[in-house]
Amino acid sequence: MTNVTERMAGPRPVVDCDSKPFWDAAARGELLLQVCAACQRWQFPPRAQCARCAADVTWRAASGTATLYSYTVVHRAPAGFADAVPYAVGLGDLIEGVRMVAVVDAPLDSITIGQALQVAFARRGDDFVLPVFRPKPGRPDDARDLTPISATQQEPLSRRG
């Protein structure tokens, strides 16, 4: 870890009825995500109902195991993040089948798309706690524990409708 988030103090989330369980759990260092009570698919961001079948959703602890789908190294930052540049923000595909944005807390020259990640929780300079991606120990190409629990909800457009 690089403590990059300690140099960040940007906007905080406007917590709402959909997101409160997520951010409350994050403050405790837990990754809670929604699962549909009917179709059993995980979803993120949280909503009042399943975005696939409109059924009720419940909250469940997620593994936090992910692979890096893409990342960018930010050199010119939005307000509140300038002290942290350059820093990496990535999209991680969780094995639960959802994708999340978070800071990739690793030496910049070590980051590669496809690498194994583990969600951790880090404190920003303004004391706000948020999830970050850290490299998952072990061989980066060992995908045995990265098999999706459910098929990804993010299907190619061509397969829709």
Binding site: M8, G10, P11, R12, P13, V14, V15, D16, S19, F44, P45, Y69, S70, Y71, T72, V73, V74, H75, R76, A77, P78, A79, G80, F81, A84, Y87, V89, G90, L91, R99, M100, V101, A102, V103, I113, G114, F128, L130, Q154, E155, P156, L157, S158
Partner: protein, 388 residues
């Protein structure tokens, strides 16, 4: 699959166009710019404000009810109002909306209007969006908006297909070469791939010269029925096919970061026009960032997915190349007041009329306009053709 019931082909036409204040327009307001552009576009068409009974206006939310505010400012009470906001592609979508409204008899003459003072008022910020709703899961992590989403798409495209920063830079170089032929473009100095790569990195792999300009500016487009268009001042530019699509708002929910909704709207618009990409002479496509153009050319079908990097290289989309893309210089080198879509329609129309001066594509008869809005979120495609 049932037959596409699209019924708008060749029913409506673009008959008037104008830009105003593209670049720096200190002292102007969002409304004054739009008023000036509207007056010029109506004069171009040989119509007056009294003829306008339909209005499409979109933009950054400078008003809760922009349709009412702009109508009041212009002194008109159009019966048909549309303020659909799907980002910068909205003005291409507006062609479809206007054609449908005209075909349904809801109005006869539509003014499509856009204005922005984002440069002079210093409105453009990398933060971009409030950290609420879905954005609360992106903004607090320091992901620039909307730039970060485009950087993530470019990064993934490079990983999947071996696309290089040099190939992205080729898009900016081609845009500059077109801009050098456009007397209205402010960015007219020579630009090389090395210049782009040497410019400051904003969010990898995007350098500052991979990003569009930040300018003021306004545009206006007049649409009426194909019948009425025959009697007006300019050659009628028919709307022969159109389609809109969207896939997400925030990049967290983008299904595949190397394929946009353009893979839906593009083929649909071509199919509705009874055409393929080979049938168009000019391409006007969104270029908020170099990756935007590359993805669009793939999704529209000008090349296969993943081949965009090679397709744009070696001057192939520059003046004298195989495909004329963004002949005004685009958002990268002409102007970008925050939403570029209306300028795609204006330049396509100018090319099809044969009024594009030094940058005129000889004999251009058909054009595709392709807008991309949000964070690669929404697309709108329209095929235009000069009436025979």
């Amino acid at each position: 699959m049932s037959r596409d019931p699209y019924g708008l082909s060749r029913l409506a036409a673009v008959v008037g166009i104008a830009e105003y204040g593209c670049g720096m327009s200190p002292g102007e307001t969002v409304l004054s710019l739009q008023g000036r552009a509207a007056r010029l576009a109506l004069r171009d068409a040989g119509l007056g404000l009294a003829d306008v009974d339909g209005l499409f206006v979109s933009g950054y939310p400078y008003a809760e009810r922009p349709g009412l505010l702009l109508s009041e400012y212009l002194g008109i009470q159009p019966s048909w109002l549309d303020s659909t906001n799907v980002g910068g592609c909205g003005f291409v979508a507006a062609l479809e909306h206007a054609a449908a409204a005209i075909a349904a008899g809801l109005c006869r003459v539509v003014l499509i209007s856009y204005g922005s003072t984002q440069y002079s008022s210093g409105l453009r910020k990398l933060g971009g969006r409030p950290p609420e709703f879905s954005y609360q899961f992106e903004v607090p992590h320091g992901l620039p908006q909307p730039l970060g989403g485009y950087a993530l798409a470019a990064s993934r495209h490079m990983y999947e297909f071996g696309t290089t920063p040099d190939q992205l830079a080729e898009v900016a170089v081609a845009a500059r070469q077109w801009a050098m032929l456009n007397p209205a473009a402010p960015q007219r100095g020579e630009l090389t791939v090395d210049d782009v790569l040497a410019s400051p990195m904003i969010a990898s792999p995007l350098h500052v010269l991979d990003c569009c300009l930040v300018t003021d500016g306004a545009g206006a487009v007049i649409v009426t029925s194909a019948d009425r268009a025959r009697d007006l001042a300019q050659p009628a530019i028919l709307i022969v096919g159109s389609a809109c699509a969207h896939s997400h708002e925030t990049v967290t929910s983008m299904p595949d970061m190397t394929t946009t909704a353009g893979a839906v709207s593009g083929p649909s618009a071509f199919s509705r026009a009874g055409m393929t990409p080979r049938d168009v002479d000019v391409v006007q496509t969104y270029d908020s960032f170099t990756i935007t153009t590359l993805l669009a050319l793939e999704d529209l079908g000008f090349c296969a997915k993943g081949e965009g990097g090679a397709f744009v290289s070696g001057g192939r989309i520059a003046p004298g190349g195989e495909l004329a893309v963004n002949t005004s210089g685009g958002g990268l080198s002409y102007c970008h007041p925050g939403m570029f879509g209306i300028f795609l329609v204006i330049e396509a129309t100018r090319q099809l009329r044969g009024q594009a001066g030094q940058r005129q594509v000889a004999g251009a008869r058909r054009a595709v306009c392709h807008g991309v809005g949000g964070q690669l979120s929404a697309t709108a495609t329209a095929i235009l053709e000069r009436a025979a």
